[in-house]
Amino acid sequence: MQVKMSGYLMEIKPKIKELITLLDNEFEYVSVLCTDVSGTSYRVGQRQTNVGDYGFSERGFVVRVYENGSYCEYSFNECEDVEACAKTIASVLKDELKALENLGISKMESPLIHEEEMTKIMMNEIEVNPEEMSAEDILAHLKKISDAGAKHEGVIEFQAAMQFAHVNKMFLSDKKDLMQSYAYAEGMAAAIGSNGEKTEMAYESFSGLKGAEILDEMDDKVEKIIQDLNDKLNAEAVVPGMYDVITTPEVTGLIAHEAFGHGVEMDMFVKERALAKDYIGKKVASDITSMKDGALSASQVSSYMFDDEGTLGSDTTIIDHGTLVRGISDLLSALRLKTVPTGNGKRESFERKAYARMTNTLFASGTDSLDDMIASIKHGYLLEGMDSGMEDPKHWGIQCVVAMGREIKDGKLTGKVVAPVTLTGYVPDMLKSISMISNDFEMFGSGACGKGHKEWVKVSDGGPYLKCKVRLG
């Protein structure tokens, strides 16, 4: 079924156009991003159940204007009287800028945005609309999953959660009239258990441009989560050192995201915070390695028609057979760098600034089989499950915390597990060490990505199994 466009955005559209007309009298450029994101999150555990709004729910507006050679923005979520609203926006932004100018502060060069005439509308499809499904049915399904997990020995708590988002955005300016409506769902099942000495957690996540059908995918994973939990409870610490490893698609995605995703966000090029700027056209990975990012690169939670600055999404090749081709960009960075924006200008919400952000980031599949990859390793690990990661675009350091490593000896999995595992290293060393790539492909879109330590946005990442050499601790 097709997702329905927000009635509120349709209704408010004439008012926002009027607001733009009024602000046009004051500023050289005016655009407004209007958001109406709704959704519900459900979480069921053995001790507590929660129902609430989806974490990224929002309804509001952000106006961007060009004033005295600079861009200024105003975020708000009430606009009954359009004239009064226009007056407030103009006076607050002008006064603030003037106060800063009075300090004698110099300004970054900010070329004026020139837009082409564009009117577009997009609405995606899902199978089962959770908005039409009873809360009773969703909670009952999650309870069944929680109960199935909790009955196992040593399990302290087993939680099952599902959340659904219906994203509606409208971008209006003198030249642009863009509207999009899409929906996605996320699921999570997690077990916390103890063996008396250690407490551990294991989980599986689910996501996609889907509806309530995601609940059915979760049913089959309970036994795997329990097995993972037991493996982690019985795991040993890894002996720190360099190892041949195989990354599962989830860990591959984490590496794509942390290793080169953040490193090619082109607002970091403007700030000279990314080493990648000086490596365009140079070898940064092995010949068999290709990497992409884009709203159109995969069908996942960050697949949209236009970004939060009204630029159409794209499918950007970042690394092509080992060579760094280009980065991903928001609109203002592209203007300053004199490049083409790639539709990667994203905001945490209408209340926050837009930055160059990842969308769906992935390593392209190869031709090897997982069995052949395991067989090729004398002593190493199959790395499974992502916990967290941290980027370092300036120095190309990488830090990823991976849930566990399954030992491989003489080409076979031994059954021994190490956990937790911290993977660190120098990004080009790691990418140049990629020697085998499987023909699998999987994307993961649960969770969110921050820039520095804030500005959380939805992203997805993934790819195939990779064989490479990394430092584990």
Binding site: R59, S70, E73, A99, M108, T199, P240, R273, Q399, P420
Partner: protein, 423 residues
Amino acid sequence: MKKELYSILKESKASDFIIKEITTYSQEAFFIGQKLDMSRAKEVSHTMVTVYVDSDDKKYRGSATKEIHPTYSVEEIKKEIDKAIFAARFVQNPWFPLVADQQSEGNDLDVNLTEELVKICEAMQKVKAKENEKVNSYEVFVNKKKTHILNSQGVDVTFYGFDCEVEAVINTSKEGHEIELYKDLRFANKKGEEITLEIEKMFISGEARLKAVSTKKNEHANVILSGDDVVQFFQYFTSHTNAANQYMGIAKAKIDEKMSGDDADDLTIELKAHMDGSTKNDAYDMDGNPVKDRVLFDKGVCKTFWGSIQHAHYIHMDDTTSINNVVVHGGSMSIEDMKKEPYLEVTDFSSFIMDPITGSFGGEIRLGYEKDARGVHPVAGGSISANFSKAVKNMKFSKETRQINNYIVPCAVCLRDVVVAGE
């Protein structure tokens, strides 16, 4: 809208309800180098409503939370409240009471956001950088908040808050090699000179990082944690005294028992409703419960738990508070004493990770100082991996303490026998 919302809720089938309305006024400035990149402002209002539905026998209390946008029509509000009440009927949590009978109008703050923004930007513009140093970029936020909490049990409290944030990145370079360091300062009332000084101090760390050599591998290192991440280290103990974690069965603290071993320094942690300079001085929490002073640990012994009214009721606490500010008392050793033996001091992690459930903590070392037979030298790279199950047995805290926003913590924590991955 609030009056209409209140009447709709009063007339609804909800057994109880709570309305939390937060209005934020904010001004922001973004800089690349010392040049203005963008200025921003906002005025937004968010109203969250939680409806509660009790089972007929009052054993269970279901709830559902929903944001009521200021642009909702009366019909939309009714529809959303009905949907929330319907969902709450299928949530079967044990019954708990709401906070009752609290009234306060609070005092509005006399703050001019533009003046505050300009004051901070001026302080940042004054940062002195040598030839091989530069301010790479920074973002300044000043926020004023009004919070109004209203529930069906006689809570009607309003309070005001003001906070500032400076996120700064600096660079230092030597012979074509440039490094960067990051700092996120959060405060309520720092003087301009203090802000300038804090950023200038980052250059000293930057100089050290330029000279850093690779961290050495060591499976039994004495590690001193002395960066801002010390706060996260102590959050392990606040997490294990949290009522929700106690109720979920994942917290280890027990009343009248110690979490630390005999060879460790005794842990004394106090919760403070108010702390000068902190951004967390709200008089009430989001249940409408007054925030109070409490002693969590006294000389190592756990004295009380903290948390929401719901979870406090579940674990039979008579009285509870939320956390605004935390004071961790200093320990037995001076920093000088800690540094008498060979050690690895980590001042900056790429990202310090602490998992209160598994007890694992550590991260990649962005800057540290290693003392060996040759003396003290800066190091970078590699990582430390540790677990609280072992750390609580021998952790030592410095006598010296310092304030990091809403935490006063020992300046340094010393841990023995830590695994360091390096070269």
